[in-house]
Symmetry: C2
Subunit: 165 residues, 2 copies
C-alpha cells in the first residue's frame, strides 16, 4: 500500500526595514529582501508642506497605495500562467479612503473606511475565468491578506459593465 | 443654558492610484493625492529576476514595508508635539513576515505571520511618556489601523532593554 504523496508546499516571504528620523517629517527608510537574491531599496518618505513636511519624498500612504495596487497585479500576472487563463495587459484603479477623528488638538485616531479596486483585464477569457483569476489573485496577494477582512472591495470590467467580484 | 461645545472633528484621507501592466511583472503605478494640495508620484514595481521579473523597480512588498515603517514614524513625530513629549531623533526597525502555501503549481494562498517593529526614541522623556507616545502613534497610524488586529507587535527601547509596547 502506497502512501499518498503530499504536494503541499510552503514558502516564507520576509522584508525588513530600518527607518531613521532626525527632525521634522522626513523618514529615511531602507528596505531589504535578504537571502540569496538579496536586494535593498531606499524608500524615504515625507509629508507635504501643508502637513508640516518638506515634500522631499512621497507620503507613506502613497507607498501603501502602490503596494496594494501592485500586489494584486503581480498575482494576476503570475496566476494567469498557473491557471492557463491568457491575459494581455490589465489595469487596476485603486482608491484608499481613511478617516481620522480628533478631540481638539489631541492625537487623532485613524481608521480605514473603504479600499476599492477596479480591475480591467484585457483578455478573450470568459467572465468565469476572469473571476477565477481575480479570486486567486486576491487570495495570493500578501498585502490584501494582511488587511482587515472585508476592507477591500473589487469590481471587474466585463464588456462595458463593472461587476462586483 | 449653554449647549456644550463639541470639539470632536473628523477629516478624510484619500489616495488613489492607477496601475498598468502590459507584460511580465512590471507594473507602472501612479499614485495621487487630490484636492488643494494635490501631488502625484510614479511608484512602479517589478519582481526580481528569480521571480520572473526584470528587477526594474522595487517589489510591491518593499513599498508596503516602507509604508508601515514610515506611517508610525510620522505619527511619532506629529504626536510628540501634540502630547508635549520632546523627541530628538528616532529609529524604527520593521520585519514583515508572510507565508504562502501551494498545492503543486496551483496558485498559492498567502497569509501574514508576524509584523514586528522595534522603536528606539532618543528622548529624555520617561518610559511612561515614551509608551504613551508610541500608543498614540499606533492608533493614529493609517496603515497599522488597516491591518488585521493583533498582527503588528511593537517593542520599545528603554535604556538598554527592549520591552513589549
Amino acid at each position: 500500500m502506497m502512501a499518498e504523496t503530499a504536494t503541499i508546499s510552503r514558502f516564507e516571504v520576509i522584508f525588513d526595514a530600518e527607518g531613521v528620523n532626525r527632525s521634522k517629517f522626513r523618514n529615511d527608510v531602507k528596505v531589504h529582501l535578504r537571502g540569496p537574491y538579496a536586494v535593498s531599496y531606499e524608500l524615504p518618505t515625507d509629508e507635504g508642506g501643508i502637513h508640516g513636511g518638506d515634500g522631499s519624498a512621497p507620503y507613506p500612504l502613497a507607498y501603501f497605495t502602490s503596494a496594494l495596487t501592485a500586489c494584486v497585479m503581480t498575482q494576476i500576472r503570475a496566476f494567469s500562467k498557473r491557471l492557463g487563463i491568457p491575459v494581455d495587459g490589465f489595469t487596476v484603479k485603486t482608491r484608499c479612503h481613511w478617516q481620522a477623528q480628533q478631540n481638539g488638538n489631541a492625537p487623532y485616531e485613524s481608521a480605514p473606511v473603504a479600499f476599492t479596486m477596479d480591475v480591467d483585464i484585457e483578455s478573450d477569457a470568459s467572465e468565469a475565468d476572469k473571476r477565477r483569476l481575480l479570486a486567486a489573485a486576491q487570495k495570493g496577494c500578501f498585502v490584501e491578506q494582511s488587511l482587515k477582512p472585508g476592507l477591500v472591495r473589487h469590481r471587474l470590467k466585463i464588456g462595458e459593465r463593472w461587476v462586483d467580484a
